[in-house]
Subunit: 464 residues, 4 copies
Amino acid sequence: MKLWGGRFSGRTLEEVEEYTNSLKTDHRLYTYDIKGSQVYAQALRKAGVITSGEERKIVSALNRIKKEMDSGSFSFHSSDEDIHTAIERRLVELTGDIGKKLHAGRSRNEQVVLDVRMFMKDAGKELLYSLAHFVEVLAEKAIKYASTIMPGYTHLQRAQVVTAGHHLNAYACALYRHLTRFQDFLERNDELPLGSGALASNTLGLDRRFMAEKLGFSRICLNSMDAVSFRDLLAEFTFICAAIMVTLSRFAEELILWASDEFSFVELPDEMCTGSSLMPHKKNPDVPELVRGKAGGVIAAAVALLALEKNLPLTYNRDLQEGKVHLFSAFDTTLASVNIMCMLVERLEFRRDILAGAAEDWKLLMTDLAEKLVQKGVPFRTAHEAVGKLVKHLMDNKESPVEIRDSELKKIHPALDPEDVKTLCPEGSVKARKVPGGPHPSEVKKTARRLLNLVKAHTKNKMC
Amino acid sequence: MKLWGGRFSGRTLEEVEEYTNSLKTDHRLYTYDIKGSQVYAQALRKAGVITSGEERKIVSALNRIKKEMDSGSFSFHSSDEDIHTAIERRLVELTGDIGKKLHAGRSRNEQVVLDVRMFMKDAGKELLYSLAHFVEVLAEKAIKYASTIMPGYTHLQRAQVVTAGHHLNAYACALYRHLTRFQDFLERNDELPLGSGALASNTLGLDRRFMAEKLGFSRICLNSMDAVSFRDLLAEFTFICAAIMVTLSRFAEELILWASDEFSFVELPDEMCTGSSLMPHKKNPDVPELVRGKAGGVIAAAVALLALEKNLPLTYNRDLQEGKVHLFSAFDTTLASVNIMCMLVERLEFRRDILAGAAEDWKLLMTDLAEKLVQKGVPFRTAHEAVGKLVKHLMDNKESPVEIRDSELKKIHPALDPEDVKTLCPEGSVKARKVPGGPHPSEVKKTARRLLNLVKAHTKNKMC
Amino acid sequence: MKLWGGRFSGRTLEEVEEYTNSLKTDHRLYTYDIKGSQVYAQALRKAGVITSGEERKIVSALNRIKKEMDSGSFSFHSSDEDIHTAIERRLVELTGDIGKKLHAGRSRNEQVVLDVRMFMKDAGKELLYSLAHFVEVLAEKAIKYASTIMPGYTHLQRAQVVTAGHHLNAYACALYRHLTRFQDFLERNDELPLGSGALASNTLGLDRRFMAEKLGFSRICLNSMDAVSFRDLLAEFTFICAAIMVTLSRFAEELILWASDEFSFVELPDEMCTGSSLMPHKKNPDVPELVRGKAGGVIAAAVALLALEKNLPLTYNRDLQEGKVHLFSAFDTTLASVNIMCMLVERLEFRRDILAGAAEDWKLLMTDLAEKLVQKGVPFRTAHEAVGKLVKHLMDNKESPVEIRDSELKKIHPALDPEDVKTLCPEGSVKARKVPGGPHPSEVKKTARRLLNLVKAHTKNKMC
Amino acid sequence: MKLWGGRFSGRTLEEVEEYTNSLKTDHRLYTYDIKGSQVYAQALRKAGVITSGEERKIVSALNRIKKEMDSGSFSFHSSDEDIHTAIERRLVELTGDIGKKLHAGRSRNEQVVLDVRMFMKDAGKELLYSLAHFVEVLAEKAIKYASTIMPGYTHLQRAQVVTAGHHLNAYACALYRHLTRFQDFLERNDELPLGSGALASNTLGLDRRFMAEKLGFSRICLNSMDAVSFRDLLAEFTFICAAIMVTLSRFAEELILWASDEFSFVELPDEMCTGSSLMPHKKNPDVPELVRGKAGGVIAAAVALLALEKNLPLTYNRDLQEGKVHLFSAFDTTLASVNIMCMLVERLEFRRDILAGAAEDWKLLMTDLAEKLVQKGVPFRTAHEAVGKLVKHLMDNKESPVEIRDSELKKIHPALDPEDVKTLCPEGSVKARKVPGGPHPSEVKKTARRLLNLVKAHTKNKMC
């Protein structure tokens, strides 16, 4: 069935039908479409456009269609242009002329914008829950590894001593920011477009606030042309997904590094790795690699949404149909990626001995040494240079700080105290960093508990 | 001056210095860098690292440096790797060993993340003000054109009758959503990174909450590695810019269409157009065209920020230096584009007669006619088809609705009432749409006033 | 079946299998995979790894698998990780230990890079043919409309007189450039990766040149690590698709403009338009709108391919699996879009009367007038300014050039000859532009024939 | 000076002048613009529009302007909208009415497209030379390290033994493909647009083939509207840059990994590294990090070029002005990055001992062992599984292959020959891979020499 055609003489070409069909993408909106139509029927009845009996028949037929779709028994026709057409076609099959009354004053694009807002409500909440759970898993793991010493890196060069729990908390903090982005998004998205018609509202006197309440929206859109034209909310949703994927890609990169023979900081669980069809010894970190690779696709989805809306005059243009493709793909990928990375972290164990060994690298303590000079009154730049020279001396002579002779030390800089140099140790370094936001075990636990508290409200309803 | 070098033997190659230098980009951060350093000096004094006298000298020398930079008299050296180095180099010139004390416990990247957060505070507020002012200008213009009838479009085909004020309000609503995005961003950005050191906080006992208060931040970052590693806030800022530019590009497209000979809906002001070097008669809408073109660049800036952070292990990597390039470019372009589009709208006048003439097109009223049939009990789909046939008849016969014979009308559908068909008019169409969010003049004014009220708080301090 | 697992203790988690599975994407490579395996079996036999009898059995079982897949009777298992695993699993079912011999010395990624190169050969040729046919259709249409006068635009403002055929030829030229891009690509892609193993070639003495010949490649890859690592060829293919879509989006934009009530330059064929579910009078240019919208997705696919390869160490990383998703999506969309736009142009008819009417706009001839002054010795800048003043005078007084008094004319500039001004006409303008590459009908036909000649070789085998 | 204005009454607003000004970007085109104008003057003289004397004066004044610009003594005015205006303004200052004759029949956009094509000719050649030189450096380094054994990786897990020279050749091959892309591009770009006017060619009878010859173009554009409208050549150029940057980013990633404490495969030269302002011991691989980061920006530039041309009607629209920004930025970044990476590789030395040590990892040889079983008639899948079990046994028991008892070996698989297992060694592995494209030293040298030969023609004129 076509929802139009009175004014046309030619039949649409098959190639055109195929090119323009969106059912493959939008069929997943059916629950929202049906719910929206049921409330719309109520509003039509309230406005006197249909009778109570007609409303009941429409609502009940739509319930039946939902069941058919839920169970997979719904039979789609090749001429169903989209999910909205398919549902209306079936409604008319089931109710005849009554069904033909439902779409008074309503456009398909209006259904799309309603359905997509409803979808994004649910999808946003689902991602919010998954993020909250992931933060929880990270914070708990951070508490477990609060005092596990490891090297921290800048430029992938060993920099200073930190704790594994501190490192994990960094991701928890970043993910929590993404969670707040979805909170803000959900507030912004909470506006009912229904009643906007194709662009100019309607002449039927529909009660928009009634429909908003029934569909769980706090507000109604203030302008019918705005409601049907813009896709900035889809772009925002997709951007948040892309930003999450970028954060995950960084964690993924680290897991891949840590699982390499050279780092060996972690052993990834067998059940989350895969092997090679050719090389019998391989155990590959495919999951984090795919997370990285899929991040590229989600960034691209955000680009697509911005690019496709660019330069379009108001109001609706068919270009916008493509928006859903990229929104859904970004959501599906991001949700699966957050969840699989969460599973990986749940199973992640650090090799404390290897981390400790790596942290023994004396270079990691050179900043501490400079800061000790500072506390003796040496200007920092002078201390920095002195310690730099010490480093060069040690490396040129392949010595470690405990091996250097006191006289050599004094030659480099008189304030260099052999006692200070020789007692440098990773534990001492971490101990000295008991500052808010620092890597000291007690600070790590404090931050982790703070995060657990922040996400508590969001995880309680989530079973993961 | 280099802030490092003790451990190096070779001199850095000139090509490397040039390739890695970021002064051209980050010099604009100097105000923030100096302010941050002054507060940092206070914190060092509070922690007993420097004396009150030293603090005073540092603060005062930094004030002098600021003045030199403000006035353009500061002399940069080719060896200044970035703005932070330049300022510290000059500070040491002015204060000797005292200046060398300032950077104890602090890394350059930490300065960068502080400076950029401070920059984004100001930049976000500036964009927020500009958006608020633009919403104001649009809402006032919407009130002026609240009853100016014009055709509304879908698919760039004439669709239904709306009012020019209604059309303008659509953009005001969209821009207001962007404004709320900056509000959310500013809240999220309001966290002090200072005290994080290179990645592992510091050993000097700096009072981070004191520094937060002095620098106007509400909170401190919870984790030092998070604070120095991620660039999601820059990506978010840039994304909002890109989303704004996409909205502006749509308005720009419409202005270009409206200024064409074929539409002629508006005459753009001479003082905002340019001519052709070859064709003497041309008056071109260059400003909206450039807005569209620049939207491409700002979308690209968002891509760049996401792409460059992808796959980076914690914490800092030099890749991130490039983030500022894209952030600044997105901000500058977006601010200039919002302001110039606002100026264009301030000067924009619709040609009421042409709009009215275009709105006389009877096709715009066919949905109203179908809704009239609905109100007589005809199922909407049936009404839609009947009116579709009427449209085809009129077009095939090149007739208008007032010309069709009653008998012909009845042949198409018995419920088609000649009275209804002949009395269709644009004014009646708008009158029938007095629904919340609809194009009726009183609704347009209501929405405009609502928007004025929403942005009032943000525009009062703005002189534009 | 898994192609690995000997060294693993844990079973892979279901969620991991789902997350890493690529069958949905790569199943379409089966023809190439089978063909590649058949030639590989020959090479194994030549190297003495298998016997002739084993080779025959493998080749014949693979033929059977191909038939099963062609007919849809092949039964995929949920444990088939990808198309390569599925085929090998089935091969072993059919041939037992013999089938287990096939993959000696070969990695799955190597199969992927082979299959994708074979796919891109076919896909590139298919796009090349479609482009050639489209150029042909455009050139023929250009000949038909070689002397149809219409306004040409810059900045969407009427600029100078051109011919419709000239306008169509512009697209034909741009599409021909894209065609040459695929020619270059196909040459570059024409290199066999097989024999590279996972990364380090193989120890079995396979004859790579023999395999190249059998599989229709002109050369073999020079380095096994290069062969399995890079995806620049996929990125190039996808970029060309994106560039094509951008060109099509411009044509689409013009068709949408031309089909608007305001321009009315063309009537799009009913069979390629769609209607509105709400507004009975609508005939919407959905096809070109979708072309524009889909262009956003193909640009995004190019971004995805570049972003996902960025920062990956050699050689294979699982991230690369995602490359196929974006390649296939770009190819499918671009091919369908080229073909549907070609169908649209085949059915496109210009409204000669409306074009002629629009071209009567005297402003279109003002450059000709300036050039006439130049031919009388007036410096061009002076002529430009004089004609600019004439335009202003005419617009201020709402006059046309034939109405202005001679004395007024002379006041504006003494060299303005009333005869010149009054005899300006669109036909004369086109006539004066009989220069290579110009809009004169004979030049239009010359260019069209040149283009027909250039693409002849590519269309002869194409049935479209 | 404005090149237009006769028809305008209002003065352009300062903000508009600033927003639309492109001088900061396009001033670098001055050499091309002047050369193009000199040839244009010759063509005007040939067509009889100006005299020989006028031509001489124009050409000579343009030479003087070039000198002024070369030396930096040219004084730009704030009203110079772009480089074309600036040059014409000065020309008129120098020659009066004669200079006003130059622009007859020519539009600024036409100058832009000419200048940009000329720029891309030079820029493409420069990149081609730099790539050729880099390939040369890599190939020579590959010969030097042709027999240096090292582990090869997939999934960043040790996979099989290769040689360092083989690894370097992989990049040389990839870069050579990019070189061929520029060759193809240069051929496609080799078409003169001049003579196209604003869009409709000209009425002055200019000899386009003469101008092509004088300006070093092989062909003339076939259609004036095509010549001035499209920017696909800029997009192609920028895409090739992006693809190069992606390849470089992979090499950069490897250099960063190799320079880490954990890998320690190379020591980067001091003169190409930088230190930390805080941590005195740091030596950071800033150059490759920035290469990675800048890759994000060049990908974005390609996005910008595609996005800004999307949806634009023919012919010129001011949006296109922005194209140059992204083209120049992509070119500058890519050229600098190719050159700096080339310098890095010139100074790169592998630590042969560490590579050899890493290659001792017995897991790297397990595929060879499986292939040995294959050569004894064991089906590969069976061999793969058997060796997988051996790996598991060795890892569970923390044994190496030389330690396992023969009986244990036979238990795992009867065909496992202790002799085979115990004689596995990296040297043997490489020796067995003397196949075309393989890692064997003689193959490495063969490939390197082939590459040197391929690029020879391009490097001979290059002094780097």
